[in-house]
Amino acid sequence: MNSQAKIRKYIYSITVFFIALSGFAQMPVFKRYYIADIPGLSWLAQFYVTHIMHYIAAIVLITFVIYVLFDFIFKGRGLNTITRIGYFKIVILAGLVITGSLMVVKNLPSIYFNHNVIIVLDLVHLGFCMILLGAGLYSLIMKKKWVS
């Protein structure tokens, strides 16, 4: 792995870690289960802090994903170089970005989404997150790469 690929891996891993952590913190579980009591982690129970952190991590993730996507296109590497797990994670990431973006729009003032749409968005976004983390763990254990 060259240094550029290593940097990308670190940026992606750190961003996904923080976006998932702040995403799970949207549910009131960290206080209940004493995690927010651990010194240095009290912010996990502060909903406005985790909300902002989730947004910031989303900005970094979207910038990074678009950069990697267009870098891939500009380099002219064929689609056949993307592995099956790579394709799978791309679809899930796209789902996360789309559902997340819709939820950001939903949170703007004077925006009224249908109630059922909001519930579906919440659940699908959480579902995509769990799948991506599972796929990431699988890739890590099985040493599967995005591109061959």
């Binding site: 009131p28 209940r32 909903f47 406005y48 947004y55 990074f64 950069y67 729009v105 949170n107 519930i119």
Partner: protein
């Protein structure tokens, strides 16, 4: 023979008789305003100087919303870890001096000096129905909804009782009842803790073109409901007339509940009893503003990603050429 008349019955008899004629016409007027403001959020204006603290609105609210109140199953399931608090109001349904799952509106009292005379001001308190309600927007399950007429409400069939809405609410309005709701069918020991309850501005009455119960019953015509522009205009005119003050127009970025008082809200806030279920009257910054600003920044993110990739491609192709 002696007969006992409760305070409520006495007030109901005397005040309602006096106010009924005026109330009927004002209710009709309000109902007309609701229909008129279909495409605009409805705002309620509360003239504190008119409120006599009779609690008619409180009891009307309880009567109108009784069917929505929680009927918890007892004994409550054991919840883990032990720090998870049981909040049970089911045996204290007659509490009216604070917000509870069975009391979505209460009267807050404050003594104040007006024109050199000490008077008691009474303030009906309930959900402010914010323009951009953090309770609705931050609920992780979508258990809360905001309607285009400006009201926000909790769907207690979906709510898991995590009370995030109460923590996010600048006035800590929603109240929890343990032992009721969807969590009982999921993992009652490990997740959830009942359901949250608060004023829903009688959404079901509004749907029928009727006014909320608290407005309908008020013998003193304390509340007015109507389209935002119309009500804000009225609120400012009223404040100008009484040389008074406005609360709720800019709090938390704007709410659909506007109070007008003859004395400053800073003073009222010092004199009211505050605490759990008893909201303050402090100035409140727009809690969702940071998120809204970051959302705007999010639009730049894909452009920045594309620009970085293009920049890299441009530099490398330039290097290749040289």
């Amino acid at each position: 023979m002696t007969s006992k008349i409760s305070r409520r019955a006495f007030l109901k008899g005397s005040i309602t008789a006096v106010g009924s004629v005026a109330a009927t016409t004002s209710v009709a007027r309000a109902a007309k305003s609701i229909t008129k403001g279909k495409n605009e959020p409805l705002v309620t204006l509360l003239d504190i100087s008119k409120c006599i603290g009779c609690e008619e609105c409180v009891f009307a609210c309880q009567e109108a919303n009784a069917a929505k109140y929680p009927e918890p199953e007892k004994p409550f399931p054991k919840m883990y870890p032990p720090r998870v608090p049981v909040e049970d109001w089911s045996d204290k349904r007659d509490v009216t001096d604070r917000l509870t799952p069975y009391n979505w509106l209460f009267i807050q009292r404050a003594s104040a000096i007006v024109n050199g005379e000490e008077i008691e001001l009474t303030i009906p308190r309930r959900c402010m129905h914010c323009d951009n309600p953090p309770c609705v927007k931050l609920c992780p399950w979508g258990a809360l909804k905001q309607e285009e007429n400006g009201l926000s409400r909790i769907d207690s069939n979906i709510c898991l009782g995590g009370s995030k809405c109460r923590k996010a609410c600048p006035w800590k309005v929603p109240q929890r009842q343990t032992g009721v709701g969807l969590y009982l069918d999921l993992l009652p020991a490990l997740a959830g803790n009942g359901a949250m309850y608060k004023c829903d501005r009688c959404y079901n009455k509004l749907e029928k073109g009727e006014v909320p119960a608290c407005i309908e019953v008020c013998p003193e015509d304390v509340q007015t409901i109507g389209p935002r522009k119309e009500i804000l205009k009225k609120a400012h005119a009223l404040a100008k007339d009484m040389n008074g003050y406005i609360y709720g127009e800019h709090e938390n970025g704007g709410t659909n509940t506007i109070y007008v008082s003859p004395i400053p809200f800073e003073q009222l806030n010092e004199r009211i009893e505050k605490g759990k279920g008893k909201p303050h009257l402090n100035k409140v910054k727009n809690m969702m503003a940071d998120g809204t600003n970051l959302a705007k920044a999010m639009i730049v993110a894909p452009i920045a990603g594309l620009a970085a990739a293009f920049g890299k491609f441009y530099l490398s192709s330039k290097e290749d050429k040289s």
